[in-house]
Symmetry: C2
Subunit: 456 residues, 2 copies
Amino acid sequence: MTNRLHRVIAAFALGCLPAIAAIAVAQAVASPVSQFTLTNGLEVVVIPDHRAPVVTHMMWYKVGAADEPAGKSGIAHFLEHLMFKGTKKNPAGRFSKFVGTIGGHENAFTSSDYTGYFQRVAKENLKALMEFEADRMTGLVLTDDVVKPELNVILEEHNQRVANNPGARLGEQVQAALYLNHPYGKPVIGWRHEIEQLTRDDALAFYKRFYSPNNAILVVAGDVTAEEVKKFATDIYGKVERRAEIGPRRRPQEPQPNAMRQVTLADPQVRQPSLNRSYLVPSIATAKKDESVALDVLAQILGAASTGRMYRTLVAEKSVAVNAGAWYQGSALDMTRFGVYATPRPDVSLTALDSAIDGVIDDVVAKGVTADELERAKTRLISDFVFAQDSQTTLARWYGVALTTGSSVDRVLTWSDRIRAVTLEEVHAAARQWLDKRRSVTGYLVKDLVREDKRS
Amino acid sequence: MTNRLHRVIAAFALGCLPAIAAIAVAQAVASPVSQFTLTNGLEVVVIPDHRAPVVTHMMWYKVGAADEPAGKSGIAHFLEHLMFKGTKKNPAGRFSKFVGTIGGHENAFTSSDYTGYFQRVAKENLKALMEFEADRMTGLVLTDDVVKPELNVILEEHNQRVANNPGARLGEQVQAALYLNHPYGKPVIGWRHEIEQLTRDDALAFYKRFYSPNNAILVVAGDVTAEEVKKFATDIYGKVERRAEIGPRRRPQEPQPNAMRQVTLADPQVRQPSLNRSYLVPSIATAKKDESVALDVLAQILGAASTGRMYRTLVAEKSVAVNAGAWYQGSALDMTRFGVYATPRPDVSLTALDSAIDGVIDDVVAKGVTADELERAKTRLISDFVFAQDSQTTLARWYGVALTTGSSVDRVLTWSDRIRAVTLEEVHAAARQWLDKRRSVTGYLVKDLVREDKRS
């Protein structure tokens, strides 16, 4: 039962980065956010929210697939699964059973930059929860008896999410072709031939190297005060040994992109061809000044459902696509992605659609956007942001993502102000500089390689 | 002067892998080849050749760009340059001056799999030469005074060979898009932004880890006997400390290729558009049975100048190209490349040429080759091989490459027999299995991105 539960859990984050990143953040509607650090290095963020007597508790580790040793892709995600296999104090299943018994929810997720563990419970259970999470921060016990079956769970997850999903396979290929040198080119779930070789020793080595309070961030949102959390966290997490010295997170960086790339994946399962393009662009952490908020605005102007440039031009005006959009993955420690995508009408070739997308991008690069578009985009982004804060989980997530990807609480708090300050020229400059086709990989998803290959 | 000399020297191997690999080998015309290993682990190959009183002396290290630490691309090649910077016993310049004074030649080269140092001198100088080479195997002294200027030499080499050479830049991009996970995707010279950061400490760490007699192969060809070389090598190289324990050379391997890729590089310097395609295929070391000799034959049948399928079909019959060919890089420790290339006639688009190449490949995949083509290819390969043995340097090189890329003296010796044994069905099977477009990256070199991009 744990395995089954866990599989669903892990699905939460793996591969849904754009969705996460599209949500950037600003001032919390609720009480002020507190931040402090325990003497063992654990950072703590508290987001009071007294609307209901519940708390959201998240432990974030500053480690993800991009931190994996060469040849061990998938180990970050595999370890995330294995973290449910118990400790000496709390054998396998006890933690999950506790959460279930008190009517709580739990979850876990892995990305290229972070790994996180999440629970949502009634406030009176917070301390007990912390005891469990603190225990498994350094107390994990792994035997081959539990590791080997879990590897099969992961391989089955790979079958479902990647091997039998042509769109996901194309996504992997586009990402690998975009990142020529940086480990973001590896799939978070891992390359299958490397997953198959992962061992208990690999998992334990990774765990010991990266799971330590000085490499973690505790985020607690809900019906608590900063004082309460500080007391509990000091009593419970404060006792966890700082067992690893964590160096700076330096990954091999990308060379200057200089060639336009195209990847075509054909699979008989494909019923509907589609096209997606990624550009290599700055993230919140790597951007100069507020370039990343200009990219947030640009993605909104290009990509907004039914009102963005992509939709208006390709679906409404030219009738070459049945849907079209854009996104920007702002949260990343290193250079990140700006994406555009579209699905052609049945009688339109991907090549023709590709040219039509070029037209939309070329136009923005040449002429920028209008004042009206800019205002509408800002209004929409800020209003989405305000509504999103209604979710305690979303709030907690924002801070966890920010602090594991080189951003900060302050940047989250000031996001809406910075969005408001974006100018027409900044949006235009971002388009000119970053939506350069030499920085891009375009993926074609087709049923039949030969037909599309000829690009007639 | 040393720098200038050395720059030319380094140019020898960097980037000319296909040329090297196209030469595979068989029975030596001259006396039998001897092979033995010293107690410190140094392997020695002796190829007697008494036509002239000269010897070719090569020290090969089983380390190349694919063995570099993440983020340190270019360090193997940088170290190759720095190996000319002197030791305590022989300060900078003395070794090269010795070779020059006695009228000899010297050379050095770096590839993804090996690094080598070469001299050709009158036979009476062999012992003195060995003293120099043995001394720098572990005695290299590096100071920032010599390291920093040499880094500028390397960056200038990068300017000349890559940055100002659109074809080379496209080659880098094609290779990076072909290898999604394996370090063969990195350029041997390194990514420029990483070269710029290389330090003395990086070079020394790499040197200490990989330069040790048990990771080296001495190849001596020329007017010597195995007994003489054995005596000299034991006396001189036998004293070099075995200072590193070398593990197996395991690099991250490629996932199963599943998407056809295309890379377009545009540069105003391009006067003549061209197209090249690489397929991911087995090397001598990774092939099952004699698949690699079948690929040698297939490359010859497709690629032979003026008589190969590529030339005959694209240049002679269809008049869509002004040149066309194919090659196979058999020597590689891991999965390697099979390439086809062509230059279009001025009025032919790269897309049209690409389709015409597909036609040539599809035909071989569908129908195989003819008995006549097979015989002509074998005759040509074996005759080229016999002529190539006329060069002492070539002979020595064959063994050095073989022993640093997972092949063997025996495989070199039996190559022509194995070529003779290749069947029509083996060539057809190799084409069917490996010339699958999903395994390939096609590079377009164009003057102007926009025009070719539309692929009209």
